[in-house]
Subunit: 439 residues, 2 copies
């Protein structure tokens, strides 16, 4: 049988239900999907292709899903660090946003960010910002799968003078990408403290009307929780529950740092997933998400980097390592959060969170061919006793050799396929100069 692409001589880390690992195997790709996974010996007999790539016994695994990004902030990477949150936001981030944000900036920053994501082995981002059509187009140009969450908040911004315009924009956005292979559209009420009760309820109705997933920041800082209790007399999750939002089919909450047990139980019962952004939480000193409770209640958790303005990179590999090590220390328990569990968080858990478990998150026949190849034939990665532990504790993102999305190489031998890298670097340098001069 003729197929589009055969990735042969691979160590296949499938992340399927049984944690299957196959050595000396081939992944066969046809029409953007994984058509078959089988031994090299069998593959030679059954399939032919003009496109056969030797993986050289490196690790072939599902693409990483970055479940919380702000790609349009890419040019603000490292703009201000080691500062109190208020200074960071009010003296640095907001003034830059007020001055620079427009369609062109968002497109170019997202184009750059999409390239950066791919270089980090990310095959899908769950993004949240404004004017997300630009993000969608930038990601498509780069070949990156994306869920674009159009931000909703009450106060006027540099982009939208009133709430009505935000909903109008979102309506046309959701119509435009209804049948797009690469782009999902979500509604992204920013948070309970930037959207009033009416706005949150309107988002719920809008989500129902247009069948859109919801992406929201929840319980990121202690202040958010305290303010909610003061203003509404209840915890943020309970407040959100009263709007009806938690009964929607696909809801992802970012951060969840200060969630309490009964909130976690409620979220779990409503089948809602939490996105952990551990590097950002540490760096901004937001607090420590209650991982033990997430695990105890069987809540689905996945990983995000947050924006590069607070991270300062898009490395899900780094998030995995930090998360697995940090909680061993915090709970004085070296067995807490195994490497295998953390690899699942970055892949199949994230696919579940975004309502795409049937299409993404593991290497299985019938799923979309979103795949990365991790180079282990190097000094830093040898010797190799355990694939999971090497990925989580040893690896850095630069060891990701190829990124394949929808069956197509978007990074090959560490080079982006769909855009000239030098041009992107020049773009970032030019914006950096302008932003620095304008600060």
């Amino acid at each position: 049988m003729f197929v589009d692409l055969i990735l042969k001589n691979a160590t296949v880390l499938s992340v399927d239900e049984n944690d299957t690992i196959l050595y000396d195997s081939s992944v066969v790709i046809k029409d953007n999907y994984i058509y078959d996974i089988l031994s090299d010996a069998e593959a030679v007999k059954k399939y032919e292709s003009i496109n056969i790539v030797d993986i050289k016994k490196n690790i072939l695994m599902p693409g990483l899903i970055n479940a919380h990004t702000h790609l349009p902030m890419s040019f603000m990477k490292g703009i201000a660090d080691d500062l109190p949150l208020d200074d960071w936001l009010q003296k640095h981030i907001w003034p830059v946003e007020a001055k620079f944000i427009n369609e062109e900036f968002i497109y170019e920053s997202s184009l750059f960010g999409a390239g950066e994501a791919i270089k980090n082995g990310v095959t899908m981002c769950n993004d949240m910002y404004f004017l997300e059509e630009q993000v969608a187009e930038a990601c498509k140009k780069m070949g990156l799968r994306v869920c674009v969450g159009e931000g909703i908040l009450d106060f006027p911004s540099a982009v939208f003078t009133d709430l009505e315009k935000r909903f109008t924009y979102l309506r046309s956005l959701s119509e435009k990408y209804q049948k797009d292979r690469f782009v999902d559209v979500a509604i992204a009420p920013h948070s309970i403290y930037t959207c009033c009760n009416d706005t949150l309820k309107r988002c719920v109705e809008f989500s129902k009307d247009y069948n859109l997933p919801v992406h929201i920041h929840l319980s990121e800082t202690k202040k958010e929780v305290e303010d909610c209790q003061k203003e509404h007399g209840m915890l943020p999750t309970h407040y959100l529950n009263e709007t009806g939002m938690l009964d929607l089919p696909i809801v992802t909450v970012a951060h969840g740092v200060w969630l309490q047990s009964d909130e976690i139980e409620l979220l779990k019962n409503k089948n809602i997933s939490v996105i952990i952004n551990i590097d950002s939480n540490l760096k901004l000193a937001s607090g420590f998400p209650p991982m033990e409770d997430f695990v105890r209640y069987g809540m689905n958790y996945c990983l995000g980097t947050d924006g590069v303005a607070s991270n300062n990179n898009l490395s899900i590999i780094e998030e995995m390592g930090t998360l697995a090590k940090l909680y061993k220390g915090l709970y004085s328990d070296p067995t807490f959060l195994s490497a295998k569990e953390v690899v699942r968080a970055a892949t199949i858990n994230a696919a579940s969170a975004l309502g795409k478990r049937k299409q993404l998150g593991s290497l299985e026949s019938g799923k979309l061919a979103d795949i990365i190849v991790v180079d282990v034939n190097n000094i830093e990665s040898q010797p190799l006793y355990n694939l999971y532990s090497q990925i989580v504790y040893n690896l850095n993102s630069d060891k990701i050799k190829h990124t394949i999305i929808d069956g197509k190489f978007v990074m090959k031998d560490r080079k982006l396929v769909n855009h000239d890298e030098k041009e992107l670097i020049l773009l970032a340098k030019n914006y950096q100069k302008q932003i620095k001069a304008g600060e």
Copy 2:
């Protein structure tokens, strides 16, 4: 004037007293030393060389010093993870050591480890193990500067049947490398719980007689502190102080996780440095070193990776990032431990700790030319607003492009200069097979 090497067109992060940063500058190297640092324009007028390397505006900074390693354990990288400490040690590490450790294993494992260190931008290791002559020779072969700490402990090991033999070995080791440019020799009493009081005192005398620095594990686990209080009625540092060890001129204590305020004050007054191994402490759930107290008492602290069996890599870059972010979270203070302070910890602080502040740790005329070049002309590293913050929060080790030790390239464009990498990888793979079969 003719010189050996000119590194031109660089962004020089000097890590000197004034945190000087120079753009469009050249570092001039003669007889293994930094001879001059000046603008490219001036350099062209003053110096000539047949060896001029264009740094392409990348960051040129002092080599990283890994102040606590066990290089001979390189082939045990990732051999057992996510386990309780006792299982890890007794069921995995010790059996492998008992079965495999001999001079050849130690040489080859250290050769591999030295290569790995260099690939991580490390220009000097402060090592601790047994048969350290093999470590010294392996590092020299690879071009890595090293302080070899010969381990002293009471009970017989696979290598030494009694204590006397350890001291005899150490005597000849210290004589052999007395005038070596690359190798310092240290005495490394393993810890207060593996050396009895007499042995510790004998180490102190030996250190005086042979003028050797001391490298010791101290206060790594809570159990160590509790046992010391039970057995000796005092805290580990006070116990060590009674042996006279803290009055020696160069003493580095590794870990210091459970040090209490008065111990820290004592160590600071004795001018002793602590080596923080944060990734290993987290992964083994040993606890959190009291950084706030180290800072408050002005104690000199530097960074180590510990062995790859517990880390699982030799990335000082990763240690920097983890440290700077973790304590912001732990202390709910995003301003605690700035990126600049952490860069100093990995360079000049480490040089001070090892008694080499006049020779190493910063880029200044007259110092040894131990230098790394960090590539910032790539998507992940752009835009670049602040050099320190990019190094600590954004970077991974693979962005280190060149490593220069003693004025010679030991890694150029990510390739080791002094050894074939494929051969090293094969070596690791072969040992991995043997170890796995023998486990």
